[in-house]
């Protein structure tokens, strides 16, 4: 078995992660429920890739994510940083101190109130009239979610949740690279975080990779960069898949300031130097994008936008845990390990490590009224600053399709999906054809767990099928109406990412390096010397030139 360890650093990364683990939890629940659809019961996915088995001191078996989550102190809401499973017996959890016989001065914070959803999780016996309750739960989550634990139904290991303490900072002030720069190294925080990671890696017989999510909109990108640097030292041959995620909120400010632009450039340059594949996720606005064709998103709430990203993340990582069988089974096809994906996307001809991630949620049916290319045209890039239409015959793609429907609400078989995708690539206009495309298919759709936000529009049916006419008047449909959806995700290594790279390189040059640059004070207070910045620019321009052969010629003439 090839294990994956997941790391989540920063506020929005944990929001995405929380949804992600909810999906896994739902899959686990459905797999063991004799009444669920057989498609969930034999999904042929190996959950051990992401989860570990353990036992508490009392000998109770546990099954928890291999996860290290890093966030600011106070971001866990009602959840204890030790998780929920490994609580000591009530006797030892006494309030008295055994190490000090003098006075005890107790300072008790107001206990945080659990919302309806969490109350229902911790309730011993389900009450009567459960249906109504579910409705209330969904309502209360839509009303207000403060932190990612508010809608998390997964159990976590005591080693998983790490809080950065002693920063004495409001979350909104922790907003640039400079401010996070020494956080990792100070007060032996880095050592503690690395110990957490080591705990999970030591257990792995044969780790296939590390999936690293970082909210790189603020100080956390510095924390993550330092963390990645120490990982590169320690686990040299373990490939790191880096997803940098941003909430639409963090990009709402109408005008990007100099320091924002420099942050983006420096953060990208630092983070990308420690990973095998870098995938930026986070559009400035989801509402205006194609992604909201069948979804009602709203950009203000991280609870809602993170759900879309988490679903795509889930789909894109499914090939890593398909059970490799002698012949492709009827449930899954084309399993892949992390390294293979990395080689596929970055190793052919161009050494481009920055990938675009696209998704179609819900994925359209294979056959239907609109036969013309629906799947390919429905894919919406979640990576910002990419060119829409681009002629790139060097592009490499890897697509994963989960639970595709043939038509209406009939599940398609694996071979049907393959044929349909082949056909749609054939039909596609030549310019969108990639050099190479790999396809992984799983028949198991994305289950929609109860705490999933009500983001579906009224054209989405129970199984995620796309209806021709609205089912109800309700604008928002959530987990009560939609039980699962087909979803497609696609990685692309293409020159469409050039604007993303060029913007960062240009800003670094213009605002940070040039004589009298507007941001030279900013970078100096962040502690970067001129040479360091020039090195960053070098590595950025190398990335650009991989994708744009003309770049070197034009830059030489300067």
């Amino acid at each position: 078995m090839r294990e994956i360890v997941t790391i989540q650093v920063g506020e929005f990364a944990n929001f995405v992660g929380s949804h992600f683990w909810n999906f896994q939890d739902e899959l686990l629940g459905l797999a063991s429920d004799p009444e669920s659809d057989p498609i969930f019961r034999n999904h042929n996915l190996n959950m051990d890739v992401l989860y570990r088995s353990g036992e508490t001191l009392q000998g109770v078996a546990t099954y928890t994510p291999r996860l290290v989550s890093v966030n600011l102190k106070g971001s866990l809401g009602t959840m204890s940083s030790r998780g929920t499973l490994y609580n000591e017996g009530s006797s030892s959890r006494s309030d008295s101190s055994t190490t000090w016989f003098g006075d005890v001065d107790t300072q008790r914070s107001e206990p945080r109130k659990r919302n309806l959803f969490l109350q229902s999780l911790y309730e011993e016996e389900p009450k009567e009239g459960k249906e109504i309750e579910d409705k209330d739960i969904v309502g209360c989550l839509d009303e207000g979610v403060d932190c990612w634990t508010d809608f998390s139904k997964s159990h976590y290991h005591p080693q998983s949740l790490y809080e950065l303490n002693g920063l004495w900072m409001d979350p909104q002030d922790f907003n640039n690279y400079g401010i996070g720069k020494d956080v990792f190294s100070e007060a032996s925080r880095g050592e503690e975080i690395c110990d957490r990671l080591r705990f999970f890696v030591e257990e792995c017989d044969h780790i296939q990779g590390i999936k690293f999510l970082v909210d790189d909109s603020g100080g956390f990108s510095a924390v993550a960069a330092d963390f990645l640097e120490s990982m590169a030292d320690e686990y040299t041959n373990v490939p790191v898949l880096l997803y940098s995620v941003r909430s639409p909120m963090s990009q709402m400010t109408p005008k990007k300031t100099v320091s924002h632009k420099l942050h983006d450039a420096i953060s990208f340059s630092r983070l990308s130097s420690f990973c095998k594949l870098f995938t930026p996720i986070g559009l400035p606005s989801l509402t205006g994008s194609k992604a909201s064709k069948f979804l009602n998103l709203g950009d203000e709430k991280p609870y809602r936008s993170s759900a879309v990203y988490a679903a795509t993340l889930h789909a894109s990582t499914i090939p890593f845990r398909m059970r490799p069988s002698s012949s492709d089974s009827s449930e899954v096809s084309s399993s892949m390990d992390v390294n293979t994906l990395v080689q596929l996307l970055t190793g052919r001809g161009r050494q481009n490590i920055v990938a675009i991630l696209e998704s179609a949620m819900p994925a359209p049916p294979l056959a239907g009224k609109q036969l013309e290319n629906t799947l390919l045209t429905n894919l919406q890039a979640l990576t910002p600053e990419v060119t829409e239409d681009i002629e790139d015959n060097q592009a490499v793609e890897s697509m994963c399709i989960l639970g595709a429907l043939r038509s209406e609400d009939k599940e398609a078989s694996v071979s049907e999906v393959k044929n349909a995708v082949d056909a749609s690539y054939e039909q596609a206009i030549t310019k969108t054809k990639p050099l190479f495309c790999s396809l992984s298919v799983s028949r198991c759709p994305l289950p929609v767990p109860l705490p999933f936000p009500s983001i579906f529009g009224n054209l989405v049916g129970r199984k995620g099928e796309i209806l021709s006419s609205p089912v109800s008047d309700a604008l928002y449909r959530g987990s009560l109406d939609v039980h699962s959806i087909p979803i497609a995700a696609r990685w692309r290594s293409s020159s469409a990412i050039l604007p993303f790279l060029e913007n960062r390189m240009g800003n670094l040059e213009k605002l940070g390096i040039q004589w009298g640059a507007m941001g030279s004070d900013v970078v100096r207070t962040w502690g970067f010397g001129r040479e360091e910045l020039q090195e960053m620019r070098e590595s950025l321009s190398k990335m650009v030139s991989e994708l744009n052969p003309q770049f070197f010629e034009s830059s030489d003439s300067d």
């Binding site: 866990l76 809401g77 000591e88 190490t99 705990f199 017989d205 044969h206």
Partner: protein, 535 residues
């Protein structure tokens, strides 16, 4: 007010309001930490919003747990935490000293004094106090034979402020012995060579010193021995798991056979490495010997199988620091390639055994020869007890290290503060011209906050205590405070000693921050209300 022109939302506090804000913040922080100080202080239990419990008597830990928002308080807190980083202790003292300096200044400023004059006085007083400290300190000779009793007294003084006496005294021996274990002549002491390991098991008094190493993981093979005697220890950093090597990273297989061939070739090279280790094992091991591998890299199941079949115990993914510690504890050297394997690179331990607690495994490497690294194994019934003992052990270790490196100590129980204060008032003040005298006086009185707070926490009358201490001092004796009865004692006889470097750092940084805060004459902040009350 030109800021207002630039940014209409900016909020500006003028001179007196600014000063009051900073002084109040300093006092507020002092109030929070004051009750912690000394062996009679209270322990703080913090219960978080989610029910998490933290117990601490350590100012450093307490500050880090607090959500401080006031900018002045943050500045003081940072200084105090820096104090801990540099000298290992004295966080609480720093905070209350700065608070007291601000309080004394407040009084003077109310009487119409300019902060600048006060600051000048502080500077003079600081210099004089540092000079006085040089004369007051008690030298400790650190030759080849260290004064172990002295080290114990210093460690005990620190530990007794963090833990109850019985436990503190038990830890005193542990802490002193562990520092002496890792101490090498002519080299700075690297406290990282003392591993601090914890087990949620049994009671606090089961905490002990392990001469050797405790690792927080075990072997990952069911057939490996759980206990072995007479062990050769191989410390290495060699990958024993199959992975795609860099060479064929970009290689793509055109058919299944080719892929198989690549995989077997890779597998074979891993097996070669394992075999080389087994060869070495067969060379060095007699009938009663055992062989243990502790590897920083991974070991996959096929490799574990091969090793287990040969009766070898193998641990993977050891902490990087333990590579260093193992070599110091067991001897030999860390091996980075199987080509470097020699019998000389092996270390030795009399006993290696595994201890399992739920899903947690611990491997003890004990009975080593000439250990230069050791482990303090902390036990306790729950996490908050363990965390508290751990904090105390860290402080204890630092105090021993400081003593060895300072080659001197300072009499404790408030003796230094009382003596320094009398020196400032009786000697220094007279030499100062003009109103800066008042700054010196304020500084001198601020020093008394340490004995005062000690007395207050012990439930004694602070006025009585200070009077009896100063009068006893003026008779020419060195006096500290006996917290049992409030009477003066000789700290030398009572064995109460503080670190010289902690005191020095405290006297250095306190006035610097206080002066900076006093000279603030305008506070400008754009966009947020700063008058709201904070912790």
């Amino acid at each position: 007010m030109s800021v207002r022109v630039l940014n209409p939302n900016a909020e500006v506090l003028n001179k007196s309001a600014a000063l009051h804000m900073t002084i109040n913040a300093a006092k507020g922080l002092q109030d929070v930490l004051k009750s912690n100080l000394g062996p009679k202080g209270t322990i703080k239990m913090l219960v978080g919003g989610s029910g998490d419990i933290k117990l601490t008597k350590d100012g450093n830990t307490l500050l880090k747990e607090m959500q401080i928002q006031n900018p002045t308080a943050i500045m003081i807190a940072r200084t105090a935490v820096a104090q801990d980083d540099i000298s290992g202790d004295g966080t609480t003292s720093t905070v209350i000293f700065i608070g007291e300096l601000m309080k004394q200044s407040d009084r003077c400023i109310d009487e119409g004094m300019h902060p600048r004059v006060l600051v000048d006085g502080f500077e003079i007083a600081k210099k004089a106090t540092l000079q006085f400290l040089e004369n007051f300190k008690t030298p400790v000779v650190m030759g080849d034979e260290v004064d172990k009793e002295m080290l114990k007294m210093v460690a005990r003084t620190t530990l007794r402020t963090k833990l109850y006496e019985g436990l503190a005294d038990q830890l005193t021996d542990i802490v002193v012995n562990s520092v002496l274990c890792i101490r090498k002549p002519e080299e700075a002491i690297d406290l990282f060579m003392v591993e601090i390991m914890h087990m949620r098991h049994k009671f606090d008094v089961d905490t002990r010193l392990v001469e050797g190493l405790v690792l927080d993981h075990g072997s990952r093979h069911p057939d490996m021995k759980r206990r072995a005697e007479n062990c050769h220890i191989l410390t290495c950093n060699v990958s024993l798991e199959y992975e795609k090597s860099e060479i064929n990273a970009g290689f793509f297989y055109s058919n299944a056979e080719q892929r198989e061939a690549m995989v077997t070739a890779e597998r074979r090279s891993v097996d070669e490495r394992v075999k080389k280790i087994i060869e070495l094992k067969n060379k060095v091991c007699g009938d009663n010997d055992n062989f243990v591998i502790i590897n920083q890299k991974g070991i996959d199941p096929p490799s574990l199988d091969l090793l287990a079949r040969e009766g070898i115990i193998a641990l993977r993914r050891a902490k990087r620091r333990n590579m260093e510690r193992l070599v110091l504890a067991c001897g030999g050297e860390a091996v980075n390639s199987v080509d470097d394997l020699t019998p000389e690179s092996l270390g030795w331990a009399g006993l290696v055994y595994e201890h399992v607690l739920g899903e947690e495994k611990y491997t003890f490497v004990e009975q080593v020869k000439n250990p230069n690294s050791c482990t303090i194994l902390i036990k306790g019934p729950n996490d908050h007890t363990i965390a508290q003992i751990k904090d105390a052990v860290r402080d204890g270790l630092r105090s021993v290290k400081n003593t060895i490196e300072d080659e001197c100590v300072v009499l404790g129980a408030g003796a230094f503060e009382v003596a320094a204060r009398q020196h400032l008032i009786n000697e220094v003040k007279k030499t100062v011209q003009g109103r800066a005298q008042l700054g010196v006086e304020a500084f001198a009185n601020a020093l008394l906050v340490v004995p005062k707070t000690l007395a207050e926490n012990a439930g004694l009358d602070t006025q009585d205590v200070i009077i009896s201490l100063t009068s006893e001092h003026d008779k020419g004796n060195v006096v500290g405070l006996n917290l049992q009865d409030g009477e003066p004692i000789d700290p030398q006889l009572a064995g109460i000693f503080d670190n010289y470097s902690v005191k020095r750092q405290l006297i250095n940084s306190g006035p610097v921050i206080a002066s900076q805060l006093l000279l603030v004459d305008e506070v400008i902040r754009a966009g947020r209300n700063m008058r709201k009350p904070t912790a």
